[in-house]
Symmetry: C2
Subunit: 152 residues, 2 copies
DNA sequence: CCAAAATCCGAGTGAAATACTCTGATTTCA
DNA sequence: TGAAATCAGAGTATTTCACTCGGATTTTGG
């Protein structure tokens, strides 16, 4: 039950791009230095994000990556989908496979529900929300609301 | 982002035990035949469930496993915890490890929130709910409520 | 009492997924 | 034209997963 490092690294990089939204492009070198992510690995990640239309790249000297949409229009769900693929909480739910037990599989209905809940929730969180949370971490003051992110 | 087969298999086996709550114990042989789970693997799974107090075993002829609590008192969360360990959506969140980036990790706050949501949700679903869902699958009739399980 | 039926326990293994790396090509701009 | 950047695809090491194996222990029916 894990989000891969790819998704986590990708999200970190996107946070930086969100901060510099509408500014100069940011290179892999800068991003990997800032977040201590291995360069060639991050390169792959950024490529996938580009292929999924979350980011655009400019080549050559002074080049790098830019967000293609505003931070509040990019959901966690999109990011995870781009890097880890659609969420299939259980192997059964992977559309490319078929459940061994054809009829009346006793568990897939629940996993489907949980899966959907998770997708919905990830869909409701945007890059802006992530940045808000980073700058005002959850500590002490009980339940807090920031934007549409409710913790309790 | 997957629940392991262990958790899925464990849940299936527990469904059977829930059906026979307060009856004779059910052996690994019966359980593995019913759900097409490899016997020695299921044996391990049942042992872990016992170690976590979800199930009790009786040895020898006619022996097998029984639920230790009523089905409505066993949550999906407990089951997953017993078999896959506490949910750590991202490696960072695993209490036994430490985040590479000590301060101001830009992503852990979000993952923590999502993690907690997921735990809460799994905690709200019980074995009884799972069984209700199995017998009345979600199809056609739009959003439906069964017990405290809300799908929409 | 003893043999069969069950669980218990610890170690081991094969395959797949994850987390990367490497090499070289291509684009862009100063 | 060459340095700085991305692009593209193949390759590899490590870890996790999904399961196996062998033998000990407990219980009960006959």
């Amino acid at each position: 039950m894990k989000v891969t490092r790819k998704s986590d690294y990708g999200l970190r990089a996107l946070c930086t791009l969100a901060q510099r939204y509408n500014q100069e492009p940011v290179s892999i070198g800068q991003l990997s230095a800032e977040h201590k992510i291995p360069e060639p690995f991050l390169e792959k990640i950024m490529q996938e994000l580009r292929e999924h239309g979350l980011v655009e790249a400019t080549h050559g000297r002074g080049g790098g990556y830019l967000l293609k949409k505003r931070p509040s229009a990019i959901s966690l769900r999109e990011i995870v989908h781009a890097l880890d693929g659609p969420i299939a909480l259980v192997t059964c739910l992977d559309p490319s496979l078929k459940c061994a037990i054809e009829d009346g599989c006793p568990t897939s209905p629940v996993w489907e529900i949980v899966n959907q809940k998770l997708e919905e929730y990830l869909g409701s969180l945007t890059l802006s929300d992530v940045m808000d949370l980073t700058h005002r971490p959850l500590s002490g003051e009980g339940d807090r609301v920031s934007g549409k992110v409710k913790v309790s």
